[in-house]
């Protein structure tokens, strides 16, 4: 531990203040700031092992749920009278679309928390969720296109929901680009949080305007789901797949937040004493 050299410069009659080297325990540590500190600073340190225990649990849960979901979507769900086997794509398309929207809302929650309470952990959570959200948005578009081709003969259909999904992907890319462009982590977190909040306010407006735009130009002839009637088993399959995706998201996000914590707290004492770093 480097010796604490307090640099105390007293000039002029008035006694003056001292300054001490960072990183060492404060000589007098007033009680209240210790509590505030616990919540603000060391929460990444206590969160890190907690996340470490949760990741495998959710990973296993995800595997199980998706396994059951896949089995049901191929063997349990009946063949659709009109669309044959092609409709099974909705068992991936719809959960992915749900998750892409859901993750953005969770990011907005963490963003609001981060801006209000100024905690560092929430900024990390928002940043950890973004890539997974972007992947699900892309998957929703990809599977939507693959479903559109056999049904309507074209890869891309300017359907209201698909267009909104595309715009959601742009919002994700905007967030990721902004995070990439800012070096200072504090500013990146807070700027990213503000962008997500502005985005969340705009999503209903965008969705409504795209809906209006879609009905205005083509009328409601082509729409995604009025094709196959929603049988009970299909609904269950979709729910299970969605839960599987949800567990997958938590596992991935927690794993990513752990490596973000490591990156940001690289030079702190608690990281250097970590087991994984030692070996």
């Amino acid at each position: 531990m480097p010796p604490v050299a307090k640099f105390n410069e007293v000039t002029g009659t008035k006694p003056y203040l001292y300054y001490q080297t960072p990183g060492t325990a404060g000589l007098h540590y007033p009680m209240n700031s210790r509590l505030i500190n616990w919540f603000k600073f060391s929460s990444p340190a206590t969160f890190y092992p907690l996340a470490g225990r949760l990741v495998p649990i959710f990973a296993v849960l995800a595997l199980a749920l998706i396994g059951v979901g896949l089995y049901m979507s191929f063997f349990v769900a009946p063949t659709d009278y009109k669309q044959g086997e092609g409709y099974r794509i909705i068992f991936v398309h719809v959960p992915a679309a749900w998750m892409s929207m859901f993750i953005y809302l969770i990011m907005a929650f963490w963003a609001a928390l981060g801006l209000v309470f100024n905690t560092r952990l929430s900024g990390m959570m928002t940043r950890a969720l973004a890539p997974t959200g972007a992947i699900f948005a892309f998957l929703a578009l990809w599977t939507g296109a693959f479903w559109g081709k056999p049904m309507w003969g074209t890869w891309w259909v300017w359907d209201a929901r698909l267009t909104s999904e595309l715009i959601l992907l742009f919002l994700y890319l905007g967030y990721l680009a902004l995070q990439g462009a800012i070096d200072d982590t504090r500013r990146a977190d807070r700027a990213g949080a503000l962008l997500v909040l502005v985005g969340v306010v705009n999503i209903p407006i965008i969705y409504y305007s795209v809906q209006w735009w879609n009905t205005l130009h083509q009328g409601a002839t082509i729409s995604m789901d009025n094709g196959s009637k929603m049988g009970v088993t299909m609904l269950w399959t979709m729910l299970i797949m969605a839960l599987g995706f949800w567990a997958y998201t938590i596992a991935v996000a927690l794993a990513r937040v752990r490596s973000i914590i490591l990156e940001r707290e690289a030079d702190t004492t608690w990281v250097s004493e970590l087991a994984e770093v030692r070996l």
Binding site: T79, G86, I89, F138, F146, L262, A266
Partner: protein
């Protein structure tokens, strides 16, 4: 239902397996990239500690 029939997916093989395949691919790729990133971060921290330890000793 024979395997061939299953794979054919009633003629929609390309589309069904295209969607499921890419989804599976991405959802497997992401954890793998995460693990590599994590290992790289850990190695960097270990190196910092060794340098610091080296300097002090």
């Amino acid at each position: 239902m024979s395997v061939a029939e299953f794979l054919d997916m009633g003629g929609y093989a390309l589309y069904v397996w295209g969607s499921f395949g890419v989804s599976a691919l991405l959802m497997i790729l992401e954890p793998i990239m995460l693990r590599n990133h994590r290992r790289a971060v850990l190695q960097r921290i270990a190196r910092i500690i060794r340098i610091k330890a080296g300097e002090k000793v």
